[in-house]
C-alpha cells in the first residue's frame, strides 16, 4: 500500500505542475485531468470511495469540460497561450512565494504530534449508505441550501455570459 501512495502522489504533483506551466491551454487542461484523477485515486486509497467517484464525475466529467469550452469560446479554438511569460521576474517572484509557503507549512506540519499519527481502523467497507442516511436525516437543510446555491450559480452563469449578446 505504501508504494501506491508514492506513485499516486507523484502522478498528482506531476499533473499539477504541468497544468500551471505548459504553454498550450488544451494541454494544461489534460494535465489538470491527470491531477484530478490522482486526487480521486487518493480518495479511494483513503477508503472514501463515494468521494472518489464524485471527484471523477464532477471534476473530470464536468469542470474539465467546462474549462475546455471556456478556452474554445475565448481563443478561437487555437488554445495557444499568448506571448512568452515563463521565466520572467513575475514567474520567479510567484515561485519564490509558493516555495516559501510550502517550506513554512512543512515545518509547521512536522512540528505537530499529529504528523506521526497512523490510521486507527482500516476496514475495507463502503460508507455510501451511511453518507446517504446522514444527508437526508441530519444534514437535509445543508443539502437544500446547496441545491439552491447550485441553481443560483447556474442561472447567474447564464445571465453573466449572455449579457453582451442581448445588447448587441
Amino acid at each position: 500500500m505504501n508504494i501506491a501512495f508514492w506513485i499516486i502522489s507523484a502522478v498528482a504533483v506531476l499533473g499539477a505542475v504541468l497544468a500551471v506551466t505548459l504553454r498550450n491551454l488544451v494541454h494544461c487542461v489534460l494535465a489538470l485531468i491527470l491531477f484530478f484523477i490522482g486526487i480521486a485515486a487518493h480518495y479511494f486509497l483513503l477508503r472514501a470511495d463515494f468521494l472518489g467517484t464524485v471527484q471523477i464525475l464532477i471534476y473530470v466529467g464536468a469542470v474539465a469540460v467546462l474549462i475546455l469550452f471556456a478556452i474554445m469560446l475565448t481563443h478561437n479554438v487555437t488554445g495557444v497561450d499568448g506571448p512568452k511569460e515563463l521565466l520572467g521576474v513575475k514567474w520567479w517572484s510567484g515561485a519564490a512565494i509558493a516555495a516559501t509557503l510550502a517550506i513554512l507549512l512543512k515545518k509547521a506540519i512536522l512540528s505537530d504530534p499529529l504528523a506521526t499519527l497512523l490510521p486507527a481502523g482500516d476496514k475495507a467497507q463502503s460508507s455510501v449508505a451511511e453518507i446517504g442516511k446522514a444527508l437526508v436525516a441530519g444534514w437535509v437543510v445543508s443539502l437544500e441550501a446547496i441545491a439552491i446555491l447550485l441553481t443560483a450559480a447556474l442561472i447567474g452563469a447564464v445571465v453573466i455570459a449572455l449579457e453582451e449578446i442581448q445588447k448587441s
Binding site: F35, A98, A102, L105, L110, L117, P119
Partner: protein, 103 residues
Amino acid sequence: MNIPLGHYLILAAILFAIGLAGALTRKNAIIVLMGIEVMFNSAILNLVAFWHYKHFAVPTAQLFAIFAIAIAAAESAVGLALVIAVYRHYKSVDVDEMKELKG
C-alpha cells in the same frame, strides 16, 4: 496502509503551493482559475485525510467534502462565465490588461 498523516498533509501543502504559484504567475485568467481548482482540491484532500486518520467511524467529514466540492463546482461555473463576459468586453483574457479600475 502505514503512511503517517504528515505525509498526506505535506502532499496537500505542496499541491496548494503549486496551485498558488500558478494563480500568481500566469497571465491567462483561465489558468488562474485552474490554479484555484488545484488549491481547492488539495484542501479537500486534507479534510479527507483527517477523516481517515481521526474519525473513520462517522461520515460527517465526507459530507463536508461533498459540500465543498459542490461549492467549488458552482464557483468555477460562475468564474468561467465571468471570464467569457470579460473576454467579450476586452477581447482578451489577460489578467494584466483588466486594469480599468486601477487607482
